[in-house]
């Protein structure tokens, strides 16, 4: 069994061990690694933002291509900084209003189209489902299951009437669908967390300690 001679691999492995040490209990090594990560992330992001955004979209077009019009949105963006001057802090609302207005304008029709109309269409049973009734995505069987699941789940969250009679039955079926959904999410979450552990241990046993080829 050999070990890596790369100092960066050693550094990464030791910092991983520092973080894992929290599983036993909180300690200064964990705190050191945690603070180092936070500081490095901020420093890294500043450099990336400057290189990929400020330089590409502002400095180069203005200084090299003389697109002076770009100074207008830049000036509006600078108004955010007035939050540090209490008397003029209301000026900060201008860029906020512009950002909110633009995003809402873009988002509203598209969200209705992608997240509501298309999803409602997906819930409806249609003739194409009869072509391959057992298809797990577009078949009739799954179509019926989805339609029943959606209707029953919505009735569970319908609070304007007491859950009695047919409404009670439907709400009970709905809660089963909700529980199965939670179970699926939990199962996937377990796999996700274990995968992260596996990824780190793979790094340590392949690149740091050459135990696995």
């Amino acid at each position: 069994m050999t070990m890596s001679t790369d100092p960066w691999v050693w550094l990464a492995a030791l910092l991983s061990l520092f973080i894992f040490s929290y599983l036993y209990k909180d300690n200064p090594l964990f705190k050191f690694a945690e603070h180092l990560f936070t500081g490095l992330s901020v420093g890294y992001l500043i450099v990336i933002y400057y290189n990929n955004i400020v330089r590409s979209y502002l400095l180069n077009p203005v200084l090299a291509d003389h697109r002076w019009v770009l100074l207008v949105p830049f000036a509006i963006g600078l108004l955010y900084l007035f939050r540090f001057i209490p008397k003029l802090s209301h000026l900060m609302l201008i860029p906020i209003a512009i950002t909110l207005g633009i995003w809402n304008g873009i988002a509203l029709p598209l969200t209705i189209e992608a997240d509501i109309i298309r999803q409602m269409q997906g819930t409806m049973i249609n003739t194409s489902m009869f072509r391959n009734p057992w298809d797990p995505y577009t078949g009739l069987a799954v179509g019926i299951l989805i339609a029943v699941g959606v209707i029953c789940t919505i009735t569970y969250f319908f609070f304007s009437r007491e859950h009695k009679g047919a409404l009670k039955v439907s709400a009970h079926i709905g809660i089963w669908f909700v529980m199965i959904g939670f179970g699926a999410s939990f199962g996937y979450t377990v796999m996700a967390r274990v995968s992260l552990l596996i990824g780190r241990l793979q790094f340590m046993f392949t690149e740091w300690i050459h135990l696995i080829k």
């Binding site: 180069n60 997906g122 274990v194 995968s195």
Partner: protein
Amino acid sequence: MKFLIALSKIDRRVVYLLLALAVVVPMIVSFNVRFHVDRSTRDLFEAVDRIPPGGQPLMLVFDYDPQIMPELDPMATAILRHCFARGIRVVGVTTGAQGAALGERAMARAAAEHGKRIGEDYCYFGYKLFLSMIYFGENARRALPVDHYGRPFDSLPMMRGIRNYDDIPLVIDLAGSSILNSWIVYMGARYHVRLGAGVTAVMAPDFYQFLQTGQLAGQLSGMKGAAEYEQLVVERGYAPAKGLASRAMNAISASHLLLIALIVMGNVGYFAARRAKPKNPQGGA
């Protein structure tokens, strides 16, 4: 009865140790767990495979950061190996700043394996604002004026003729956040971009409905999705051996068995403790 009650009171550090063993031992002691390739993975693979070699490029979006790298990096590697082995050009980009270095590393590594040249066979634009990626639908050249290394859009031979999303046959977003939903809403609904996805296992159930409606061409779910894609890449002869995700499947299976056992033990212990509790007919605390 005491033994059964003790099952629900195992020290958490013992659980951590058992989990570590369940992950490490299958990594060292090699055995092959067979797994089924999900249809959503196969659909994404076929969507990539249908792109003509040397033609319009696939766009791969590295919307992930180091925290979730073990799940999404193997997906990126498998997709890139598939594309480069088949001669499909790739445009790489990320809308998450921390993904910039990860995407660069994944692309450079896969390109070096297949002898691909930057600018001709692949391009990497690094971190761009999501707003820029929306604007790509109107004017690709102005949305991505320079690549990650500062080279102008026009100087990249493979980007000639790329006007907007109409010239991108497939966009695959490897996402560890709800940014994938934004891709579906903004690029899918506005520009009718054909989208595929690679997501963390935590997010996977939230996006299955988009497969059913056809808003996603296919989806890779967590490390298992990556392992399935690796298997298809090897089966079709695009790579000689499987990658890291396939090797992790043994550890995933062993750890899942352990966790199922722990959940059963915890419940048995809970009900045993409830049964052993003396009943107080008068109620009260």
